[in-house]
Amino acid sequence: MSVATRTIHFTLNGAPVSATIAPHHTLLEVVRDTFGLNGARESCGQGLCGCCTLMVNGQSVSGCLTLAAFADGATVTTVENLAVDGKLSPLQAAFIECGAFQCGFCTSGFLLMATELLESNPRPTEGEIRNHLSGNLCRCATYPEVVRAVQLAAERMA
């Protein structure tokens, strides 16, 4: 079977881009393989772990479950967009300060999910933090530090 390709156009971390894709490519594959943005990673491949989190039109999605074709015309941002001119976001700084990771494999997903939470809810309760991040797994089990980092960032951004 010959694979029909198509060209999609979207905004990636603020810049207009285009990519030639096949219908079965995931957005995660395109972001990593075409654009070399390796912050998002495929881990479980089932939408459960959050390592592949990407923002599409301002909403978090599992990049591994998103067809790239569906990003045509969309605004996509990745963890690489959080720091501005090399300066870490308050949340990123809080993650380092609180030691909210060990191996760091899951960190990009936690950062994007928590950034999304703080944008809609600047002073979340611990329960709200845990609920929003419940679809992100950290096999080093740094959950208490992650919650503390989100709380610290919230305090500093207030």
Binding site: P23, H24, T26, Q46, G50, L67, F70, M113, H132
Partner: protein, 290 residues
């Protein structure tokens, strides 16, 4: 995943024309969260997918119809339901269940129609909708029809949908708005697929239950109404959130006896039967507490 053809129609008639009644490798795709898993596992190998994402805002609307029934569009996302003031006012049992249904990223894209058409028995929403007496609106080449949720889902991943039909929405009649509750039980981790989901919906007046709908899901092949439990509850009186012991025992017995529980990774049939005996009473209490 292996390559397939992806079509992106702009209208419902166009989408219906792209489906095929006789080809199991052609399917509609909405949010895609469930289909992508099946495709990655090669359980489903599509020849053609017909995306419902471009069908416009009308198919995803959440609104009241002229009779005051709550209408959820087929492509409405679970996140849209979660945030909807209309859903909170007319079917709060759905609003309360959603934060514990899958995860934020999946809820951002997964749709009402998809949750029903997929017919995975572990999904929470079909069980809740069945308890709310919801009707599924379906479009096909011959026009439109409706089916009650518990008739739409006929078995394990099986529905009464023809392959060239599309779910356009769900209607929850205003008359079915009673004291409703849904409790699920996960056995391996808090956010695991449930081993059991119990939904009840009680129409009450002055300390008396006039009518009840009791639906068991996740532990079964499909959302299953328990008529013996519904009969035992009809006419029962309660004070506060407490029912007579004889009534709760009759309900427990019906739930244990009438329902065909299935064994799977979430637990054995015998274990789920016992979970149901316990959780049915908790769910009734939660409903009566309001």
């Amino acid at each position: 995943m292996i390559p397939f053809e992806l079509l992106e129609p702009r209208t419902l008639p166009e989408a219906l024309g792209m489906l095929a009644d006789d080809d199991t490798a052609v399917r509609p795709i909405g949010g895609g969260t469930a289909l992508m898993l099946m495709m990655k596992a090669s359980v489903f190998v599509p020849r053609r997918l017909v995306s419902l994402r471009g069908l416009g805002e009308a198919l995803g609307r959440i609104e009241l119809d002229a009779e005051g029934a709550l209408c959820l569009g087929g492509t409405a996302t679970l996140a849209a339901l979660e945030a909807s003031d209309l859903v909170r006012a007319h079917a709060p049992v759905i609003t309360r269940a959603l934060p514990h249904l899958s995860n934020v990223r999946v809820r951002h894209v997964a749709t009402v129609g998809g949750a029903l058409a997929h017919a995975d028995p572990h999904m929470d929403l079909p069980t809740i909708l069945a308890a709310l007496d919801a009707r599924v609106r379906i479009a096909g080449p011959a026009g439109h029809r409706t089916l009650p949720v518990d008739e739409l889902i006929t078995g394990y991943y099986e529905t009464a949908l023809a392959r060239n039909e599309i779910i356009t929405g769900v209607t929850i009649p205003a008359a079915s708005a009673g004291k409703a509750a849904y409790i699920k039980c996960t056995t391996r981790a808090a956010d695991d697929w449930p081993a059991l989901g119990v939904a009840v919906n009680l129409a009450c007046s002055a300390g008396r239950i006039d009518a009840a709908r009791v639906v068991i899901g996740a532990a079964t092949d499909k959302p299953t109404r328990v008529s013996g439990a519904e009969a035992a509850l009809r006419g029962a009186t309660f004070s506060g959130s407490t029912l007579d012991h004889a009534v709760t025992e009759a309900v427990r017995d019906a739930v244990a006896r009438e329902v065909a529980y299935t064994s799977d990774a979430q637990g054995s049939a015998a274990y789920k039967r016992q979970l149901a005996r316990v959780h049915i009473v908790r769910t009734l209490t939660a409903a009566l507490e309001g």
